[in-house]
Symmetry: none
Subunit: 209 residues, 4 copies
DNA sequence: AATGAATGAGGATTCATTCAT
DNA sequence: AATGAATGAATCCTCATTCAT
């Protein structure tokens, strides 16, 4: 299977192998995280899931928390990428309500497709990794804030407005997915859209206020 | 094997005593939870905090998770009571914006005064107690929904509207407290109020729609 | 086997039991120390030797090093007691050479009878317990110094003289026991005696110098 | 199974290279031993210090203990050489007390300049290397014994006398360096000299006895 | 009812050693 | 000869739970 290099590897495929191993471990960590939850994600289980020996983990990560931290980072990055794509696909919409509806729908869908991951990120606490989750949130924030600031007038409260909008969409979408109400999906989307549209209309056209 | 108690228990109001003990243990659990976080909340520490022996915990709770579950329940109940009072105090407000602003402010304040508790409830996961947090949320929901349904016309989507409103206020208030944005408190309150008022206006007076 | 106390132990025999357990653990630690050496003295082995479970060690000692520290202390104390008795038995001797010879012999004998223990104390390093061994030495020092200062005039160098004497006897005795030379025991004792007697004679009677 | 080396090894002076490598490893071992102490002297750290891979150690040493054993041997040899030079420089002295004083001083100085090494040899136990330290001692013994036997009459107890003298000087010097008493250096040297001179005088001139 | 000592499985981490390349 | 990744046993310690008293 391996290349039959006669010379002692001048092009260091070890770099490659190492990265593959890290990937494998992170995948295993992710798997264990979803399957057992944060506190049951022991080094033993992760090693087993990665098909390696427990000691080998420490060749690639200094300790368990760093490892799990990177797992969570990867989760977050994936989710962010997914969301990013969703937003981009809906920015070009026509009327304001349509654009908003599209984005809300896209966000909910993105979350629904990653419910397990969302649950880990939002319900399984990395004990002292408040930071990490905050980081994740802030990264989504940035993304959405950037997208929204285009629509807003540069008024003094632009930050506050962006914060309200971003937190509202995100929280509602997450609430809808992680803690589903007994409400039709379409109705939910429609109401969220109305909520945001009304607010946005006010903020986009200050005179109406 | 049976207990070798000589005296037939003097008619002590054991029912009473038992309840007092449960209270004491739950208080200890709460204390430990706040002081050490969920995973460091060991039975030993809780027993010590309650001034009893670890074995005695099992006289009152079948295992650690049930115990901590009830602790979390009590936290939630306390918080709910606190919020309930806040709402009640602000329902009688005059104009719609004033009433909304009052409630938003009350909610944020209530959360701020219980930030530690909130952090435990929202950032420290009871490992498989997804249920529990959902329960907590739902109970707050009920409360607020009840309060809000009074304002809403009995249209088909009343539930959806209530859900949106409740989730929005609560999530925004929690976000503001647990993950404070760089936004003035007054600005935040004002924007949240605007968001909700605009939406409520639409929903309260269907004709405008 | 156990006492059939009907009342919940007003005279706390637990105190007693606890002390017995500590003794048992320390004995086990000593045993393991002699049998396997310091670095192989693992908590597991000690627990096994004590016939208890590893976790139980921590009911009585905060960690392994404290436990082993106390084991070493006990060794040292035993040895010191042994030596103390030996000295006392020989202090009443008649002529100076006889008294010295008696003490040298007593010390060597005491060490010979505790060679294993001596080996642990002098050849098995408690990694950071330099302190501990120094303590042990100093305690023997005190003992011997006290004994010797009686013979010395209160000259300025009394300390130096006592130090030389004590270190010399002790080190020679230990060297003889731990690292036996190819020299007759009697000859060794005789030479050590001569060494010390000559020096003492000089120091006890300054005029001769 | 056999090594698949294509070229017949170019006639490299492998013998030479091998010896150089062994030296490098032993130096690394010494360095690690001084820096981290015996139990922290892991193969990994030694390999790192030698700038080679852990696996390569096993090309030159069958296992860790042999490696460290040789490290200790080298330490001892170096120390012995140092001491040897010190003795030689002081043997030509005039009067007996002067010669003795010179040697005592030289020994203490030599030990002081190698206190770290001394500490490893005397306080850090090679777990079962009782042997090794004894070896070291015996080699110093030989040296000093040889030097001293010149002064001694060939009586039956020459060995015992030499043993007493050597052990006494060495132990006192080591005690002084590793476990410094609260005694002036000069006083200490003077007393040690007196101790030895008195004894030597007796033994060198049997008639006085 | 209460105790609290005892348990023992489980967890994170280290490290001497091996082996495919 | 050299590498260094992989191993896996061993180590220390924690903690939920039980049980004799």
């Amino acid at each position: 299977m391996a290349a039959r290099t006669r010379r002692p590897m001048r092009r260091e495929p070890s770099q490659e192998r190492s990265r593959a191993m890290v990937r494998r471990i992170l995948d295993a960590g992710y798997e264990v995280l979803l399957a057992h939850g944060y506190d049951r994600a022991s080094t033993g289980r992760i090693a087993a899931a990665a098909g390696i020996s427990p000691g080998s983990l420490y060749q690639y990560f200094p300790d368990k928390h760093v490892l799990l931290g990177e797992v969570v980072d990867r989760c977050a990055d994936r989710l962010r990428a997914r969301i990013s794509r969703a937003f981009v696909a809906n920015l070009a919409g026509g009327s304001l309500p349509d654009a908003v509806r599209g984005n809300v729908l896209a966000l909910i869908t993105a979350f629904e497709e990653n419910a397990g991951l969302l649950r880990v990120l939002y319900e399984q606490l990395p004990p002292n990794a408040d930071t990490r989750r905050a980081d994740f949130k802030h990264r989504i924030d940035e993304l959405a804030t950037t997208a929204l600031l285009g629509y807003l007038p540069g008024g003094a409260r632009a930050d506050a407005v962006a914060w309200v909008l971003v937190r509202t969409v995100e929280n509602l979408a997450i609430s809808y997915v992680l803690d589903p109400p007994e409400v039709d999906r379409e109705d939910a989307v429609e109401e969220i859209t109305a909520l945001l549209t009304g607010y946005l209309a006010t903020r986009l056209d200050p005179e109406r206020r």
